[in-house]
């Protein structure tokens, strides 16, 4: 345990650590990770790279088709 963590625990009742933990819990709560994995939406890094390129192109087309002036 680092000195800053010890001081946080002694002087602030673990305030900083509790904030970090709360943020992790919020992300976990809204991620619904298990459901998406069950539905087969899991992507690895390589797949994500390829998808990102295709997705960018698709979004440009979508905006044109939807008649939007925004990108």
């Amino acid at each position: 345990m680092r000195l800053s963590e010890i001081l946080d625990r002694i002087l602030l009742g673990g305030y900083e650590a509790a904030k970090k933990d709360a943020t992790r819990q919020i992300i976990a709560r809204y991620s619904r990770g298990n459901v998406n994995i069950q539905n087969g939406y899991l992507l690895d890094e390589d797949g994500l790279e390829k998808l990102r390129a295709v997705g960018d192109d698709a979004m440009k087309k979508l905006h044109v088709w939807a008649g939007s002036k925004k990108h």
Binding site: G14, Y15, L51, A66
Partner: protein, 203 residues
């Protein structure tokens, strides 16, 4: 390739939902950059569905399937909006609770006098979110009201309290150090008293 014009209405819906989700993510990012991860993931899933739909269109695939992919994409954008708002509200709420628990309400009020009003404002918004859970028909209107004004006010107030946080922490630390100091002095006093009483008895 299938005509995209057939899906004009749903594509316009996706575009509008996506734009709103991005706005909400930008607002939520001001609260905490990390908590927007679930929203960004939802937009990623929406992107995946759009790619699937485009693929089907290119292959002259089943129209119902294309429509289903696009409906899924729209729903993912919708979830991204709600996740951004919910995560931002949760982050604000938990931070305020931790602040009052760990740093002390008195110390917060000393530096940031608007704490009570902020808390009341936050509680009212949380109540609306809770109400929206049981009111599916009106949920969109409730969230739109939160998106259009309430969340922005809460983010501004949260920014103020975040800027005040280092000062509040410093006051809380000094208070705790004074408390530990007085405990230490008390303990030393007790040890000296015990020694003063028992050492003559041993002799």
């Amino acid at each position: 390739m299938a005509e995209c014009g057939e899906y004009k209405s749903i594509l316009a819906g996706i575009s509008s939902e996506w734009d709103q989700a991005e706005k909400d993510i930008k607002i939520a990012e001001q609260v905490c950059g990390e908590v927007v991860t679930p929203s960004i993931k939802e937009l990623r899933y929406a992107g995946r569905r759009i790619v699937d739909a485009l693929n089907e269109m290119a292959a002259d695939g089943d129209k119902q399937e294309i429509s289903n992919y696009l409906q899924d994409a729209k729903f993912n954008c919708h979830k991204a909006r709600h996740d951004a708002i919910d995560a931002a509200i949760s982050k604000i709420s938990i931070t305020l609770e931790l602040m009052s628990q760990k740093l002390g309400y008195k110390n917060i009020i000393t530096v940031y006098s608007g704490f009570s009003d902020f808390w009341a404002q936050l509680s009212a918004t949380k109540e609306k979110i809770v109400a929206s859970r049981g009111d599916r028909e009106n949920r969109e209107n409730l969230y739109a009201a939160i998106e259009n004004s309430e969340i922005q006010k809460l983010v501004v107030e949260f920014g103020k309290i975040q800027r005040a946080e280092p000062i509040i922490m410093s006051i809380a630390k000094k208070e705790k150090m004074a408390m530990w100091g007085s405990y230490a002095i008390g303990l030393i006093g007790i040890i000296i008293a015990i020694v003063a009483i028992f050492v003559p008895l041993i002799d």
